[in-house]
Symmetry: C2
Subunit: 330 residues, 2 copies
Amino acid sequence: MADVAHRANVSTMTVSRAFKRDTSVSADTRDRILKAAEELGYVFDSIAANLSSRRSGFVAATIPSINNANFADTVRGMTEGLRDSGLEILLGFTDYNVEEEERLVGQLLQRRPEAIIVTGGRHTPRCRKMLANAGVPVVETWDLPSDPIGHVVGFSNAEAGRLMVDHFVARGYSKLGFIGGDTSRDTRGLDRRRGFIAALQDRGLDASRVIASGVPPISMREGAAAMVEMISRWPDTEAVMCVSDLSAFGALMECVRRGIRVPDDVAIAGFGAYDLAEQSVPPITTIDVGAHEIGIRVAELVLDLLNGRHAPEDRVVVGMTPRVIVRHTT
Amino acid sequence: MADVAHRANVSTMTVSRAFKRDTSVSADTRDRILKAAEELGYVFDSIAANLSSRRSGFVAATIPSINNANFADTVRGMTEGLRDSGLEILLGFTDYNVEEEERLVGQLLQRRPEAIIVTGGRHTPRCRKMLANAGVPVVETWDLPSDPIGHVVGFSNAEAGRLMVDHFVARGYSKLGFIGGDTSRDTRGLDRRRGFIAALQDRGLDASRVIASGVPPISMREGAAAMVEMISRWPDTEAVMCVSDLSAFGALMECVRRGIRVPDDVAIAGFGAYDLAEQSVPPITTIDVGAHEIGIRVAELVLDLLNGRHAPEDRVVVGMTPRVIVRHTT
DNA sequence: TTGAAAGCGCTAACAC
DNA sequence: GTGTTAGCGCTTTCAA
């Protein structure tokens, strides 16, 4: 920067200003500086800028997996919402693992994000503490925790499970099963299963038909295998909810392979409103939680918080409403 | 750090050392320091560390889209390969757009990555120049550019197109079509189409059956629409390659909806070896390019380069071989 | 609109 | 194994 300043006959301070928007530098001076920088092959060093200004210019976000259309939609929404703010998103992947999340959050906080967004409302105690003490806005998403750390943009996964029971019952099914949500790793999937089970019990229906399989992310293949187990253990099962559209698709394809008619022999529903569920033949009944909108809302909230448009003590909770999309598999 | 040092009765330099691995601090002292840090709620500031040490601790990578299982696999491979090196990956998304890539690369370089990995071998002139002058290792992936900027871990997309023509011809098909690869945005998809066309021409086959549709990422829905157009314009088409498994799946589902038998009436193949292509009924013939392995190889290469295990002037080109996976749709 | 001085929070380099 | 000194490349603050 000193070299550029020298070449453009200004001080480094003016060079610094020339590289920012909305700063008081005359057009002439700015042009001269940018030209000098270009000639010298100067590349602005944002690490030094960050240290000096005590602003890192990014928001940290953790998501369970990079390979998931739902979380990808949320990240797209956040990116769109933050586009004009000058803030970038630093993404980390937890691999559906709260220990990994703890490690990741520790790493991310060392880079001094201006806000931190985490997927889900369950964390290790250490992780909760780090987030609570981070000194920047914290937003939990994709969940509606009973004891939030900071702010929330999410929905109740248990509610999503209940909604599907309502739908199944309205369709006349009463022998209902659930596939997925086994492990403690995908806590949101587990919540959906719990909501499903609780709704069965509330209605006095049999709540034993649960095939919990594998490590998340639950795959199409695991959905197929679980479906085989479901119909061999409980051949009279009338309708099955899968923890995600991917496993629902796997289950559906297994039925197609075996000549089991869907929904005539057994109904299948998923979760997540993936493109796949819409394009598959038959198209799959699913639940839309507005993944993209979650991202947009998170971005709006973060900008409001950073710009002081909320009282610091306000806890903002944006609750989204999961919605059943009825298609041909139920 | 000064506060921690004071509380632990050491200098800041010792505190600094205590927070690193492989440094000479006695176990006692380190424990005392970490305890003091814990008590004070001290969080290490890696921005300052980065400035002082002139090491950012991350590798930048650009991918076209967050929502693509292929690039996700590559990123997973890179993450795994870099896990023990202490390097993190800073991810940016270009949205299949070289102008956006240029902007993104500019931003990323300001954060001083220790290496930069870009998807694809086509860039704006300014972007090429920035990369060439970045002063850090540059790796282009998912392509085999004729004039690489730095190093390469990739494969020839044109070769992938040719391979599928070989496969179709070996299967006895001769009226061959291609879906996708329209725009200048997905240059790798375009290369696959070009390779496909060139192979047709080499064999003296009709090369006019091309439906180029939409903006990338080409979706299942667009694949379905393109298939409709293909069979209405060229009803005698015997086999169709789609630019990706997603559009191939869309095309296949459209055929199922219309009672068109696959592969008896028309054969369909995709690209990318997505899970979807394996799990769909019928399973879809596709091309596997080793997306995950690309990531692993990139990580190995980057570590070798950073550790001086290659002569600085060596240009490393790791060529992967695309491979047809034959399934039931052809 | 521009500049001078001071310093952000850490680490390299060297000393002991 | 630990400490001292100097500074990384910017921006804040204040002044003109």
